[in-house]
């Protein structure tokens, strides 16, 4: 009896330690968000007079409206609205193209091996480790050559190409675990390359599609460097606009507008995570369980 009690006591202590640590980390991540949210609904007077974590006395949505609709960014006075849509118009095609091409690449590299396909895959993997900065100049030349400089489609191309290394890796590793006998059975059943892809591989690919889409959406939406290098003025993505907003506030720093804009810029990735997050975890572990 005393033994059992002692053990359960030490267990409890362990639990407290674990949960304590977790809570600490949660607070560490959530406090800045909390400060951002409350700051974004205070007016400037309250910000000047109150403390950082004081709750707003007279909550107002005005900073949000201004950030969205009429804040001054660079030479325009239209808020981050236009840039937000720029990002959406960039992210959707870039995610779709990089994911689909990655899926086909992974399918080929796992199920239609050819002489040198392993070398090809190894080289592609190297792409995951190339820092952004290295590709900036060659990419600028390429975009100029293609006539896509300073355009959203230029950014789509950059992100698609840069994302391929990752998406191919994801799909290849997932498809390696799909039995090759399935593909052979379909080949004997008379199905060709694309029919097998559509009818056999795609239907079992939902988890890895979720993982890839979340990964790519987050990466591309949050990218700053490519945005700032390969776009100007009205084609800039929201991350660049946010930076400009914070830097161009003329006389007074409007922290509430800055915070509201920052939250708006972060909303889509949060949204994607909440909607598809459970697939993300499931997809990441799916391959491991199958072995």
């Amino acid at each position: 009896m005393p033994d059992a009690i002692r053990r359960s006591r030490s267990e409890t202590a362990g639990r407290i330690l674990i949960y304590g640590t977790l809570v600490l980390f949660a607070v560490y991540f959530l406090v800045p968000l909390f400060v951002m949210v409350i700051t974004s609904v205070k007016n400037m007077d309250e910000i000047r007079t109150g403390t950082l974590i004081a709750l707003p006395q007279q909550p107002t949505l005005e900073p949000w409206l201004k950030a969205w609709g009429y804040a001054t960014i660079g030479v325009t006075n239209e808020g981050i609205r236009g840039f937000f849509w720029n990002s959406i118009r960039m992210v959707i095609p870039a995610v779709l193209f990089s994911t689909l091409i990655g899926a086909v690449n992974g399918y080929v590299l796992s199920k239609w091996r050819f002489r040198g396909s392993d070398t090809f895959f190894a080289m592609l993997l190297l792409g995951c480790f190339i820092p952004f900065q290295v590709v900036l100049l060659p990419m600028a030349r390429t975009l100029g050559f293609l006539g896509l400089s300073e355009s959203i489609w230029g950014l789509v191309l950059v992100h698609t190409v840069y994302g391929l290394a990752f998406t191919t890796l994801f799909f290849r590793n997932y498809y390696v675990a799909v039995p090759s006998e399935l593909v052979n059975a379909a080949r004997i059943d008379g199905a060709g390359f694309f029919r097998i892809f559509w009818k056999i591989m795609l239907p079992v690919s939902t988890p890895i599609f979720m993982v890839t889409i979340i990964w790519q959406t987050t990466q591309i939406w949050n990218d700053f460097l490519f945005g700032v290098c390969f776009s100007t003025g009205e084609t800039q993505p929201v991350t660049v606009a946010l930076n400009n907003l914070v830097n161009t506030s003329s006389s007074v720093k409007e922290y509430n507008v800055d915070m509201a804009a920052a939250i708006i810029a972060a909303l889509p990735t949060l949204f994607v995570y909440f909607v598809a997050g459970k697939y993300f975890v499931r997809g990441l572990t799916a391959g491991a369980v199958k072995g």
Binding site: N184, A185, R187, I188, V204
Partner: protein, 370 residues
């Protein structure tokens, strides 16, 4: 239905030679079994026949068509895989119809065939289920159904029963045999189970290390194994191999056998040839059922030699009792009638059928024919 000829086929993966000159020919409608230990190249050969892998050298013919460069879908074959390879996202009906749809078989005909196949295999009530909702045996049936629905020239089976439990395996084995009798289609069947091979085959190709050791009927490989490997592979319990040193006694060439307690007797050897000569060390093979209990009256049978020896181990199997003893310092197993079964430690009189021993070269393992 089509005949199948495999003509001096080799297959190399990079520098690894997996198949080293395979020659096999079967008539239309025959049941060919490829059997051999793991890694001997059975699946590789089957994949070559299917067209899933390319042939390095040699030729494969189906009917009078050389198929070397014909893709799998145009070879008119159907295959059942070891893992069944059912399409996980499709229900049973779609699994059966997938290959037919790809081939543009008319809808009504597809329905007909599914109905017929479902009846043959008794899977009518499973048609709307997904593969994940089926038991192992049901999956196996569906996999066979998918092949049958295609009505191919040749069926290819790659260890279709190896994932089933022992009882179901025996049942399905019989069903496959019935199916073959009913459909009459040429079948190539891969297994590493020699009993499956013996029970199913019209002809067996026994493979080892990428070489066909023997290609013959089941009776042929059993009664006339070409070498030590085949002799030991086919039959359960396996053939006894006893090292003997030939000698000449009373003008006849004999193989002397000495039991553990020193009793000696001799087995006549058919003829003097170069290989079968006095002083030669060779291996004598004798199947367990050819050393059996000594019965009343056998004294007068010329071909029976009596053999007194001590019993080491007794294993009843039901219909027979296996008795282990020792001759020439080698453990051998004999198959006795359960009524005559001794106990371990007894000394027993055994009847050794002297017409049955086979002789093999110790080095190469090749059969020495008298």
């Amino acid at each position: 239905m089509a005949s199948l000829v495999i003509d001096n086929v080799t297959k190399a993966f990079g520098r690894v030679q997996v198949l080293k000159g395979i020659d096999i020919a079967v008539d239309a409608g025959e049941f060919l079994v490829l059997v051999g230990p793991s890694g001997c190249g059975k699946s590789t050969l089957l994949n070559l026949i299917a067209g899933l892998e390319s042939i390095t050298t040699g030729e494969i013919r189906m009917g009078d068509r050389v198929v070397n460069n014909i893709p799998p879908k145009d070879r008119d074959i159907a295959m059942v895989f070891q893992s069944y390879a059912l399409y996980p996202n499709m229900n049973v009906r779609r699994n059966l119809s997938f290959g037919l749809e790809t081939r543009k078989v008319p809808r009504a005909e597809i329905e007909n065939r599914i109905q017929r196949v479902a009846e043959i295999l008794q899977i009518e009530n499973l048609l709307e289920r997904k593969p994940s909702q089926l038991s192992g045996g049901q999956r196996q049936r569906v996999a066979m159904g998918r092949a049958i629905a295609r009505e191919p020239l040749i069926f290819l089976f790659d260890e279709p029963l190896s994932n089933l439990d022992a009882k179901l395996r025996v049942e399905m084995r019989t069903e496959i045999k019935k199916l073959h009798q009913r459909l009459g289609t040429t079948i190539v069947y891969v297994t590493h189970d020699q009993i499956e091979a013996m029970t199913l085959a019209d002809r067996i190709a026994i493979m080892k290390d990428g070489i066909v050791q023997q290609f013959d009927t089941p009776d042929g490989v059993y009664a006339n194994p070409a070498n030590l490997f085949v002799a030991g592979f086919i039959g359960s319990p396996a053939m006894n191999f006893i090292p003997v040193s030939l000698s000449r006694e009373n003008g006849h060439l004999v193989a002397p056998l000495v039991t553990a307690d020193g009793r000696r007797f001799t087995v006549p050897v058919p003829a003097d040839t170069g290989a079968l000569a006095p002083e030669r060390e060779i291996i004598m093979g004798i199947r367990p059922e050819n050393i059996t209990d000594f019965q009343e009256g056998m004294q007068s049978w010329a071909h029976i030699a009596a053999l007194e020896c001590g019993v080491n181990v007794v294993e009843p199997t039901g219909p027979d009792t296996l008795v282990y003893t020792e001759v020439n310092q080698t453990q051998i197993v004999c198959r006795l009638c359960p009524d005559a079964a001794p106990k371990a430690g007894d000394t027993i009189r055994l009847a050794f059928d002297t017409t049955k021993p086979l002789f093999f070269e110790p080095g190469t393992g090749n059969r020495i024919e008298g």
